[in-house]
């Protein structure tokens, strides 16, 4: 009985989906796929939108897929499946800096263009064709220090609430922050007292933030260069009612930070446009695949709305020169 029902169900599913599959095929458009870190991550909604709009404008086929969890290996079956589907371009926000090397090599040996987007496989750059990063990551640390400095009058103790201890991007920015604090006389009266890690979990980030406040009662400012961290830090400050004493800033999503900016918990924070990453990646991939863009360091190409883009050393491409700052004045202009 049970078996019969199951069989019927499977057959039904098979038939309906078979209809769709055959209808969607048989086009010769460039096939592009973006593999996110995990599903349900609001950051990638906007990035994917950039791809969708870009592909619509360029006449490419586009699909977004992502694993349920962001552990190192979870993207591998998805990459394998895309190779099997015969896509032309795989854009991916990698969950691991090295566990994907082998499968990337497979993909490239089949002529697929492999782009890392919004994060790179640092140390293994030879396994991908190019990387699209939102901004020049060398300047993020400096910009963030300036941001927190301007909020606290360039004087007092500050701390950093980061993602995981090994998050490569965050660590690069933190290095930048430390270098800036050490070398620029403008920040001589600011003292970095601690760097803690909230593992990009709200609960963990909250307890780390609470511990910072307990351990450093004179803390003036907190930089949280991660979207989960800054929201958690802002919430702690909001619930303690100490927005005047402790200034929280960092990198956050306007959609998650809007309420905190409006009620004065957070004065200003920064980020870039995830949308533009997708938009640029789509244009770049199409250009490279059709031969109109040379994927060589130093060559330039035009992208509508973004202007002239240059390929930097390491085949790294940036969508914008500097971070965008969000505050009460402009936050309603952004819908991601």
């Amino acid at each position: 009985m049970l078996r019969k029902t199951l069989l019927g169900l499977a057959a039904g599913v098979a038939m309906t989906t078979a209809g769709f599959a055959s209808a969607a095929m048989a086009q010769d458009a460039l096939k592009m796929v973006f593999i996110g870190k995990n599903t349900g991550n609001p950051y990638f909604d906007s990035l994917t939108n950039g791809f969708v709009e870009g592909c619509k404008a360029l006449g490419c086929e586009f699909e977004f897929v992502a694993p349920a969890t962001a552990e190192a290996t979870s993207q591998i079956p998805f990459i394998e499946a895309q190779i099997q589907r015969g896509v032309d371009v795989i854009a991916i926000s990698p969950n691991s800096p090295d566990a994907l090397n082998q499968v990337f090599d497979d993909a490239r040996s089949k002529g697929i263009l492999v782009l890392t987007v919004n994060g790179d496989i640092t140390g293994n750059e030879s396994h991908r064709d190019a990387t699209i990063l939102p901004t020049n990551f060398d300047n993020v640390g400096k910009d963030q220090v300036e941001m927190v400095g301007s909020l606290i009058g360039y004087e007092g103790e500050i701390a950093i609430l980061s993602a995981t201890t090994e998050a490569p991007d965050q660590n690069k920015w933190i290095e930048g922050m430390k270098a800036t604090l050490a070398s620029d006389a403008k920040y001589a009266k600011m003292k970095l007292v601690a760097t803690v890690y909230g593992d990009d979990q709200p609960e963990k980030s909250t307890t780390e933030m609470e511990a910072l406040l307990s351990n450093y009662p004179d803390l003036k400012g907190v930089i949280a260069p991660t979207t989960v961290g800054i929201a958690a830090a802002a919430q702690v400050v909001q619930s303690r009612g100490i927005a005047e004493q402790v200034k929280v800033t960092g990198l956050g999503l306007p959609s998650e930070m809007r309420d905190f900016v409006k009620d004065g918990t957070v004065t200003a924070f920064q980020l870039w446009s995830p949308y533009n990453e997708g938009w640029l990646a789509a244009h770049f991939a199409k250009g490279v695949k059709e031969g109109t863009i040379k994927n060589e360091v130093g060559s330039t190409f035009e992208v509508p709305d973004l202007g002239t883009i240059t390929i930097n050393p390491g085949n790294s491409i940036n969508t914008q020169a500097a971070l965008t700052t969000f505050n009460a004045g402009n936050i309603d202009d952004f819908n991601f």
Binding site: D45, T69, E203, T206, A211, S214, S239
Partner: protein, 328 residues
Amino acid sequence: MTTIRSILGRREAGIFVMIVLFAIAVGIAKPQFLTLNSLRIVLLLVPLILIGAMGQMLVILARHVDLSIGSVLGFSAMVTGMMFRYHPEIWWPLGFLLSVGIGAGLGLLNGVLVTVFRLPAIIVTLGTLNLYRGLTYIVSDARQIDRQYVPSALKAMSQTSPIFGIPWIIFISFAVVFATWWFLMHTRLGRQIYALGSNPVAAPLRGIDVTGVTLLVFTISGALSGLAGILYASRWGFVNPSNTGAGFEFQVIAAVVIGGVSINGGVGTVLGTFFGVILLGCVAAALPLLGIAGTTQNAIYGAVIIVALLIDRTVRRQGVKSLARARA
């Protein structure tokens, strides 16, 4: 009987002593741990776990286990969040009804699978753990409910109240603890859960409706996870299809086992579970204060569960021995 009770008394006292010793030890290293502020941090950390632990305790007392609570929490929170997002005109406190109702429904389904098909709860709930999580993605289209959609009044419940400014969420969780204690100690049904768990074979002979009681504990566990779901939205201000409630079951089961509830059913108290939750909360709050890396946290949780199991066994052994001695 009296011997067992005195041992249980010792067991809870033991956990309480552990909490005190732990607090003192941390306090010596970091005096700021022994402040009212730390109490606030711990109490704001534990409400969801406390509520989940009460439901889980009932299930374990009846000699079952519910692994699906994290996904039940996530699903209830997501549907409630979607109500806030797409129907902001609906009076927001109805969200409590919705979340608890959905949780109860999912819990009931677990109970039905366990009783009607006579399946082991651990496997059923391992299955529904994935099933409910998958459904959460499907109903939400894998989109997060952002902070701006969660009603401010709901978020405020985790921050303050007219009573000394102690957040509502703490009162709610304590009320659940009290209600569970009253239910277990002062109702016939509550006593039946103990009876069922300590001897499932004899239970029907004593006139206990085994199916009914089993369905009830799973439904309560689900309903409380649903309550934890809307409180998650209140506490953290968002609902995410993959993060919300993930790993909740392990925190809760760890707390319950530490609290001295025997995994073999029939033994355990509300007070013990309460202390178990508080101990875990203290550990979670103290680690960052001590500057211990978050990466050690899971190892500590695991070790604590294993140690609690070993203690549980020793206590049970002694209980049996002293029972034997009392009879002799």
